[in-house]
């Protein structure tokens, strides 16, 4: 196949006005579909005094009520279902790590749309039918594996449905079958890179050229580390089970923000306190409205991800609006001694100071004072035979974290590989204060 730059060129490079017209047309239909089929949301609209007739174009979207994670919990499992179960062909679900399991339903059209979104992402990193795409996201209820697997099929890549885990076997398949694209969580990509090195191999021993990594927060430093350890270009991908899965937004060759598949998902940024829609370029909470979903259509769903939208022209030629990497998730945000702390900030310091990005944050409350303990893995080359040297290391790392956060942590150096490795999502925070409440 000749090099193909876009999977669906007409949509991905559509002029702004045409896109708005398309979004308007789809929104009017979607609102009508939801109002007629989803009692839970109809009640919310009625309570707000909004009817489908009030929604004439995308400009009217602000009139619609928000949906939150709490709504999803209340409506579990069928309350937000948009069609008869007999029309649905698939269920996906979140891991429920925060105690709020989300169960989403898909019709065949929903699955096709989702897989198209993933196909756009794979094509954007240079994927064609000549590529071998190794999917090392978990398969099952988690959307990572099935989404990229479907997208890879649509592009025509030879797909390796590895799922996560058994890292040495991953590397063996990667080498023997010449995988060129890797899809998994960034922490697992970093782990594969480490394992490669441990096996005495270098990036020259594998054929990977690109990686699509998402489902958890990661930093630019982590991107550089992964790119170096695997000899690839590393791209971000965004999505959530509530909206479909990975592929809601994806990074292009510019590696500067993710293009949102806005023909399917309309994005707004709101003030998380007031709910007011903020102008382009403002930092706030990302809100998504599905524009053409059947099984699990969500209107104005508050993602709790904090980010910025931008319509600045992109060098890749796509006109799709871009979102920044989420700067934090209000779910992940910890308030320690009154200060807002995102785990990603600590990760940035660790990498800058030459430590492994594998860490664990423990927050507790002792005599009404919040305590912050950071456990960090020591690398072999950082070890010294004197207590003094190690104590100095702990102290200087604590100071660097204090400079970043404004609060004093206690740093603990631990042996390598003692912090549980993630083959799915990483657990980075243990907040013991909840036990006392």
């Amino acid at each position: 196949m000749a090099e193909q730059k876009y999977y669906q060129k007409e949509i991905e490079t559509m002029p702004r006005e045409e896109m708005r017209a398309l979004q308007s047309e789809k929104l009017v239909k979607q609102v009508k579909h939801v109002y007629e089929n989803v009692k839970y949301y109809r009640d919310l609209m009625d309570a707000k005094g909004v009817t489908p007739d009030d929604i004439k174009s995308i400009d009217d979207i602000h009139k619609l009520p928000f949906l939150t994670k709490a709504d999803l919990r209340d409506a579990y499992p069928y309350g937000l279902l948009g069609t008869d179960l007999k029309n649905c062909v698939r269920i996906q679900s979140t891991s429920g790590t925060t105690g709020r399991r989300v169960v989403a339903f898909y019709t065949q059209a929903d699955v096709d749309m989702w897989e198209d979104c993933c196909a756009r992402a794979i094509t954007a990193v240079g994927g064609t039918n000549e590529d071998v795409c190794q999917v090392a996201y978990g398969y099952g209820l988690f959307t990572g594996g099935p989404g990229l697997n479907g997208g890879s099929h649509k592009v025509g890549c030879l797909t390796l449905p590895m799922s996560s885990g058994n890292t040495e076997r991953q590397i063996q398949f990667m080498r023997d079958l010449h995988a060129t694209i890797l899809c998994c969580t960034p922490s697992y990509a970093a782990y594969i890179g480490e394992t490669l090195k441990e096996m005495g191999l270098t990036p020259d021993d594998i054929d990977l050229k690109a990686g699509i990594f998402g489902a958890e927060p990661w930093t630019e430093e982590m991107r550089r580390d992964i790119e170096k350890s695997l000899g690839i270009k590393a791209y971000d991908i965004y999505g959530l089970t509530e909206t479909s899965g990975p592929g809601v937004a994806f990074e292009c060759e510019a590696q500067a923000g993710m293009h949102i598949n806005e023909d399917h998902f309309y994005a707004e940024i709101i003030d998380p306190e007031t709910g007011e829609v903020l102008p382009e370029g403002s930092k706030g909470e990302l809100v998504f409205t599905s524009l053409d979903k059947e099984g699990f259509p969500l209107l104005r769903y508050r993602t709790r991800d904090i980010c910025v939208l931008s319509r600045k022209e992109c060098s890749c030629g796509r006109t799709l609006i871009k979102m920044s990497k989420p700067m934090g998730r209000s779910d992940d945000m910890l308030i320690i001694r009154g200060v807002n702390v995102f785990p990603s900030q600590i990760e940035t310091v660790l990498i800058k100071e030459g430590y492994s990005p594998n860490y664990l944050i423990e927050v507790d409350r002792v005599k009404n004072n919040d305590t912050l303990d950071v456990y960090v893995e020591l690398a072999p080359e950082q070890f010294s035979d004197t207590v003094k040297d190690l104590a100095i290391k702990e102290k200087s790392l604590a100071e660097a974290i204090k400079t970043m956060l404004g609060i004093n942590p206690k740093v603990h150096l631990v042996a390598p590989k003692t912090i549980t490795r993630s083959e799915g999502k990483a657990v980075r925070v243990i907040d013991k204060r909840k036990l006392h409440d």
Binding site: L378, A379, P380, F383, S384, D385, T386, V387, K388, L390, A391, E394, H412, L413, V414, A415, P416, K417, T418
Partner: protein
């Protein structure tokens, strides 16, 4: 002359030291001398054994972090003041002693291990004072 000492990072967790020393023993490594330094968070196990290179490989394979350091070993006479004499010689030569520990060699002689900031200056100073430093083979 100096001796190769291996230091191993030990987490301050129940059983961590036991499992490390058991691992070393199970791999047939003969430990001549051993000392432990610990803080609230971690410990450093320091050992002298007959084959430092092999020991390092064994530890690495076991997932332990270790490092090899050249330390000085001096035989110490069983009489009052012999330790003080050595420390005085080192202090006069402006050598900083990071840590020290003692052990018995198979020949029944007592030895002291000194980790200093400059082995060359320290050995020369000790030699000048008629104090001999041992090499790895002397201890086995």
């Amino acid at each position: 002359m100096s001796v190769k000492q291996i230091s191993v990072f030990i987490e301050n967790k129940k059983g961590a030291l036991a499992s490390c020393t058991r691992y070393i023993a199970d791999n047939g490594i003969n430990i001549r001398a051993l000392s432990i330094a610990d803080t609230q968070d971690f410990g450093i196990l320091r050992i002298i054994c007959d084959d430092p290179k092999q020991t390092e490989t064994v530890l690495k394979n076991g997932g332990f972090i270790s490092t090899v350091t050249d330390v000085l070993a001096t035989e110490i006479e069983d009489k009052p003041g012999s330790m003080a004499t050595i420390l005085e010689v080192l202090a006069d030569a402006h050598v900083i002693v990071e840590y020290t520990y003692a052990f018995l060699a198979p020949d029944g002689h007592a030895y002291m291990i000194f980790r200093v900031d400059d082995n060359a200056i320290a050995s020369a100073a000790l030699a000048g004072a008629g104090i001999k430093t041992a090499n790895q083979e002397d201890l086995f």
